[in-house]
Structure formats: C-alpha cells, structure tokens
C-alpha cells in the first residue's frame, strides 16, 4: 500500500497498478464468498474430487516453482559456483514469496485454517506423508525467511543483526537443501497411498523421486525465467555485476537443466519398464503420457542443449517457459487429470472460474510483493555499504 502512496504523486494509474488492482478487488470478493459460503460456494470440489487446483496448482506447482531458492543457494554456497552469486538473492526471494503464498493458499483450501498448527501442537499424525510435508514446508518457510532477511536488514540499516544472519549462511543452506529434498519428494509421496485412483502410468513407487528431480528442473528454469522478466522490467535496478553475470546464469542453469531433464527422462522410462506398463502407452491416457514425456521433457532437454551449444540465450529463455509448462502439466496430471481416471466423466472435476480467480489473485499478490521488495531492497544489486559480503 505504501508503494501506491509513494507512487501517487506521479501517475497512480499505471497499467500494472490498474490490472493488479482489479485482480485484488475481485480476489477480496471471492475471499469473502469462500469464508461465508464455504468451499461449495466457490469450488467444484466434490466427495469424489476432494482436491482441486488449489492443491494441484497452488500447492504442488507453487512449491515446485519455488525450488529455485534451494537449487541456487546450493550451487553457489555449497558447490562453490561463485559466478552465479548474483542469482542467489532473487531466487531466495522468489522461493520465500512462493512458499508464503502456498501457505496463504492453503488457508483457503483447508476447512479450518486456524487449526493448521494442530498437527504440531495438538496431535501428531506422524504416519501421514502430509505430516512430513507440513513440517518441512513450515520449517523451510522459516529458513527462507532468515535467508532472505539480510536484504531487508541492509535496507533497514540493521548492521548487527545482518552480520549474525550472514554468518548462518552455510548452515541455513544445508538445512534448506535437506528440507527441500524431503518435502519436494513427499508431495509426490502423498499419492502413494492411492494406487487404485491414480493412473498406473503416473502412479509409481518412484513418484517421490520424480517429484524431487522435477523440482530441480523447475527451480533452474524458474531462475532463468524470472531473470528474463526482471531484466525486461527492472533492469534499472540491476548493478554491473548482476548485468555481467546474467547471461552466465542463463547459460549455466540451462546446461544444468538439460542434464537433469535427460536424467529425468531416463528414470521415467525406467518407471514404465519397472511397472511393465508398455501396453498402456497405446491407450488415450498413454498418448497423453507420451505428450508429457516427449513434448515437455525430451523436447526442453534437447532445446536447452542446443541453446547452450549455440550460446542462443533467446532459445534458452523460451525453453525455460516450455520446461515450466511441463512441470505444471506434470502436477496437473498427477493430481487432477490422471487422478480418478476410473470415474465416469460426469463425476470428474473441472475447476470453477472462482477457483481459478483465487489462484490468479494469489499469484498477483506474489508479483506485487516481488515488485515492492525488488524496487526497495538490495536484491538485484549489492548494497554499496555491504559490498564486502561473501
């Protein structure tokens, strides 16, 4: 809000503000409907389809796309790839906002959001994969907040606090990678309990590993995608180092993504082989599976490789978009499209426009916060008084 107040002296009605403002107003109305009329008032959920796009998109896709934080910080602080240092802060910020929005979205989806701490403080259902997801997401959100805090502390001029936090970098990075490994994979493990509902081409004992590996692809691609957008709209906020390293980041992350996609393609084929599901590839679900596997795994793998070989940054950037669409498609397949495949079409789920509206509203909040923070805090540039850091 203070952003708007500051901008009021100039022109308040920029295209961004107008569009974001309209979405926020609609979102607030839908929020009121959700918390007065219940889920039935705004969603198409049913007793057969208890999870819709608030889980399929907001939770599963949201957490995967927020993986850039752990991927980038691990590359730079653990594996010593210092040339990507300027990518760390934007990635951590995106991760932090991503997880914060996931938790916000869960408040719409669960029946009694104020009870979200119950699994920790009242009764621990430790046999549940969801317990592990909840514990790791809660802890990781805290980790991301601390990892992000130096930027805010520099902005606020709190030197002492900043110095303490910066000293924790290595510890926090390791903790972040452990937590990410656990909950990224556990989001896939959630579906292990329902072999009779998820189509066998997507149901696999390897599904936790699939989810973890795809989160790395999502994290790498998201860093490329986000840096492209930032450069386009916020390049005036970038310092020389950031501008100089930007193309290196795109090339390096594109290369890594190509490799990981190749490995992922291999383990997907191994999964089909292990389950002996070859005969299912000829069915309509099989064709859809092949579209995902070749169009959104093999193709981005190939295009990333070509882009890196030719140093074609434009191709790499568009490939990142393709790879991200592939992640979204995969999560939708597991949670919505190939889930409940045994039911007649009349019992299947399709999202209500108001569900989509809430999801758009939540993404918009993320963009507004990102813009607010990036235009104020040292994210895309180094604070001149703290240039000594790392």
């Amino acid at each position: 809000m203070s952003e708007k107040a500051a901008a009021a002296s100039k022109s308040f009605f920029t295209p961004f503000n107008v569009v974001a403002g309209i979405i926020v107003i609609i979102g607030l109305i839908l929020t009121a409907l959700r918390f007065t009329g219940g889920l039935a008032a705004v969603t198409n959920l049913s007793d057969y389809n208890p999870w819709g796009i608030w889980i399929g998109f907001d939770l599963l896709v949201g957490v995967a796309l927020a993986a850039g934080g752990f991927v980038t910080s691990a590359a730079v602080y653990l594996f010593g790839m210092k040339r990507y240092h300027s990518a760390v802060r934007p990635a951590i910020l995106t991760g932090f906002l991503g997880y914060a929005l996931v938790v916000l979205a869960l408040n719409y989806d669960v029946g009694r959001p104020w009870r979200l701490p119950y699994p920790f403080v009242i009764q621990q259902g430790t046999t549940s994969v969801l317990f592990e997801v909840a514990a790791c997401v809660a802890l990781y959100l805290a980790v991301l907040f601390i990892e992000f805090s130096p930027a805010a502390l520099e902005w606020l001029g709190l030197r002492k606090a900043r110095r303490i936090v910066v000293k924790l970098t290595l510890l926090l990075t390791i903790f972040g990678v452990v937590l990410s490994t656990l909950h990224q994979s556990s989001l896939g493990a959630l579906f292990l309990i329902a072999p009779s509902k998820l189509h066998p081409l997507w149901y696999s004992p390897y599904i936790p590993i699939y989810f973890f590996i795809t989160s790395i692809i999502a994290g790498l691609s998201m860093v490329i995608f986000e840096s492209t957008l930032s450069y386009r709209y916020l390049s005036h906020k970038m310092d020389e180092t950031h501008l100089k390293e930007k193309n290196d980041v795109t090339l390096g992350f594109g290369k890594a993504a190509s490799y990981v996609l190749a490995g992922y393609f291999a383990i997907k084929v191994i999964g089909i082989s292990a389950g002996n599901h070859w005969h299912l590839l000829g069915t309509s679900y099989g064709l859809w599976f092949l579209v995902e596997l070749f169009g959104f795994v093999a193709l981005p793998c190939f295009l990333y490789a070509v882009g890196v070989r030719d140093k074609n940054l434009k191709l790499i950037r568009w490939t990142a978009v393709l790879a991200l669409l592939g992640i979204i498609l995969n999560r939708f397949n597991v949670c919505l499209i190939a889930f409940n495949w045994h039911l007649p079409s009349s019992e299947r789920y399709f999202p209500h426009w108001m569900e989509i509206g809430i999801s758009v509203f939540i993404v918009t909040i993320g963009v507004i916060f990102y813009k607010f923070i990036v235009t104020r805090m040292p994210i895309l540039y180094k604070h001149p008084e703290y240039s000594d850091s790392h």
Partner: protein, 351 residues
C-alpha cells in the same frame, strides 16, 4: 497392534531414529496383522437382500441425520446409482439383469471399517482411530479439513461438508460405535428384516460366510469381499455375482494402506541423517579446491617473481661487473696516461 506399529513408525520418523532401527516397513514384513482379536464386523449377503431401504432409514434415525430427499419407502431411487454423502451414511443400489438370476441384486455402501484404515494412516492430526471393537471413528474436534483422508480411502467413503464455511466436518458411517459399546446392534443391522446383514465377531462372520459358500456353491461366488481387500475390512460381503458387476473394485490388492507409504516415510530419517554429511562434504571439497587454487596461484606468482628477480639480479651483476671492468680499464688507462705523461715530463726536464 496396527495402531502401535503405525505410531512406532511415526515416532521413529519424527525422532529420526530410523537410522538406529532400520526400516519399520521391512521390520514388520514377516508379521501379518489380522485385526484386533474379537473385533466386531458385519456380513452383507446380497442373495438375502430385498432392497427395502430399511437399513437407510435405520441409519438415518440412529444417527439423527436430516430427512432424506425422497422418503425411504420410495424404492424408485434404487435404480439410480447413488453414493454416500454428508447426510446419508449408507445407500443401497440396485443392479439388474444377471444371467441365471431372476431377481435384481443389491449392493449396500457404507464405510468398510478397514483393519488398517487408509484414512487413519493419512490423517496428519490423527483424527481417525481404529477402535479395538472394530469401528473406525472420527474426531471433528482436531480435524483441520485437509481432505487427505478422502484422497486416501480406496472405497471413496469419507464425505465433506463443503457448504460449511467455518466448521466443516468429515462425515461417514461410524458402525454405530456408541451403540456397540452399549451392547446394541448397529442401526442398519437392527432394522434389517431378512438377515441380509449379520453382526458379530469378524472371525465368526468369516466362518459363517465360508459355510454358506460351502453349502450353496452354485449360489455364491467363492470369495468373501473384505476378507483380504486392502489388508482386510470389518465389513464383509457375499455375492451371487462377481463383485465387479456390482461396481465393487476387485483391483485394490491386499496391501494395507499404511504399507504403501511406509517405504517413503522410512527414507525420511535417512535423508535427514545423511544429507548434511554429504552436503558438508561437497562444500569441503569445493572449499578445498578453492584453497588449493589460491595456493597454486600464489606459488605461481611467487615463482615468477623469483625468476624475474633472479634475472634482474643477474643482469644487474653483469652490468656491475661490466661497469667495474670498464672502470678498472679506465683507471688503468688513466694511470698509464699519467705515468706516460710523468715520464714525458721527466724526459723533458732531463734534456
């Protein structure tokens, strides 16, 4: 036993003790949980069911559910495939036209009260309990409303109050747990006029079912549905036609739901224990590489400097030597000159 094992598994996961004890999923693999001894169940025999909907009415009454959309004596609803919902804990559906059977057959749907329930295993706040009497009960006072139980249940039984904005609950058959404790029959069993429903100890019900199959082998399919499905259920079914034809799934397998996720959960303490070691190791390797690179760089600089110094020195000393030589030559030349001059003057003076 099941509960304690699942608890055990959970505690190990939570405390990260898995490293010390190994995977509980494997530890339990050579033991087969057959349910609480003496636990109760219900046997439904569709060759005895006449589709009167009395069980629906009885359930509605004892659970104090809202009045039905169509009165319970209206039997036309049977032909429509219905399911349970928040206001209906049990329904009966009719299936017509079977070869060799004149009458239609009926299927009763309600919670099957699994021996190792998927809902209880999936609940992250332990809202579900498999009681030692047999029923799987639900505690709305802790439920968060995440609906993972509905995802997990292979029989699609839990239903959710989607129209409740702030206090939605899961609703499902309780097998009349409060009545059972009081020594009464479940509502549906008590009202059934034909003994299509038999209530008793699960072990006895299985014996009764076997007896009926043995006595009337032409009448029944040789399978007791629920004896092993998903690790076994407290509700058991006998049928005159394959269960598939009554839309009961025959592809569920015999693995109890908790075992489906036990492997993934047992990996958690392993990752938590080993990842920090691996990552610290990778960090140390990259740090050491960096350090060695730095040392090598310094050494290279030092050696180049040394070389340059040595070269410079030798050049200097050469120059010095040359200069000295030149100086010496110059001196000797001067001396010579002076001597010669002295000689000359001497000669001059002498002459």
């Amino acid at each position: 036993m099941s509960i304690s094992r699942r608890k055990f598994l959970g505690w190990m996961g939570a405390a990260g003790l898995g490293t010390a004890f190994g995977s509980p999923a494997h530890a339990a693999a050579n033991k087969h949980f057959k349910g609480y001894p003496e636990s109760l169940g219900v046997l439904f025999d569709n060759m005895l069911c006449i589709g009167c909907r009395n069980c629906e009415a009885g359930c509605n009454k004892v659970n104090e559910l809202p009045p039905p959309d169509r009165p319970f004596d209206d039997l036309t609803v049977l032909s429509k495939k219905r399911r349970t919902n928040t206001k209906v804990f049990t329904v009966v559906n009719r299936y017509d036209h079977f070869k060799g059977i004149k009458n239609p057959l009926f299927r009763k749907i309600q919670c099957n009260h699994c021996l190792e329930p998927a809902c209880a295993s999936a609940c992250f706040v332990r809202a579900f309990t498999k009681t030692k009497e047999g029923p799987v009960t639900y505690d709305p006072s802790v439920c968060v409303g995440c609906r993972y139980c509905m995802i997990a249940c292979p029989f699609e039984i839990p239903t959710y109050e989607y129209d409740e904005p702030l206090t939605p609950r899961i609703r499902k058959c309780t097998m009349c747990q409060p009545r059972i404790i009081d020594g009464k029959l479940p509502g549906c069993v008590e009202i059934c006029p034909t003994e299509a429903l038999s209530f008793g100890k699960r072990g006895d019900l299985i014996k009764i079912a076997r007896e009926r199959i043995k006595k009337y082998p032409d009448r029944y399919v040789d399978h007791i549905y629920g004896e092993h499905e998903m690790g076994g259920t407290s509700w058991l079914y006998l049928s005159g036609v394959p269960f598939k034809e009554l839309a009961m799934r025959e592809d569920l397998g015999v693995t109890p739901a908790p075992e489906l996720t036990a492997g993934a959960l047992s990996a958690v303490p392993m990752v938590a224990g080993l990842w920090p070691v691996l990552l610290t190791g990778l960090y140390a390797v990259s740090k050491r590489k960096e350090k060695i690179a730095k040392i090598e760089q310094q050494q290279a600089i030092a050696s180049t400097l040394e070389k340059a110094n040595a070269e410079a020195e030798s050049k200097l000393s050469k120059a010095l030597a040359k200069a000295q030589k030149e100086k010496a030559a110059a001196i000797s030349k001067e001396v010579k000159k002076a001597l010669e001059e002295a000689k000359k003057t001497q000669e001059k003076e002498g002459s």
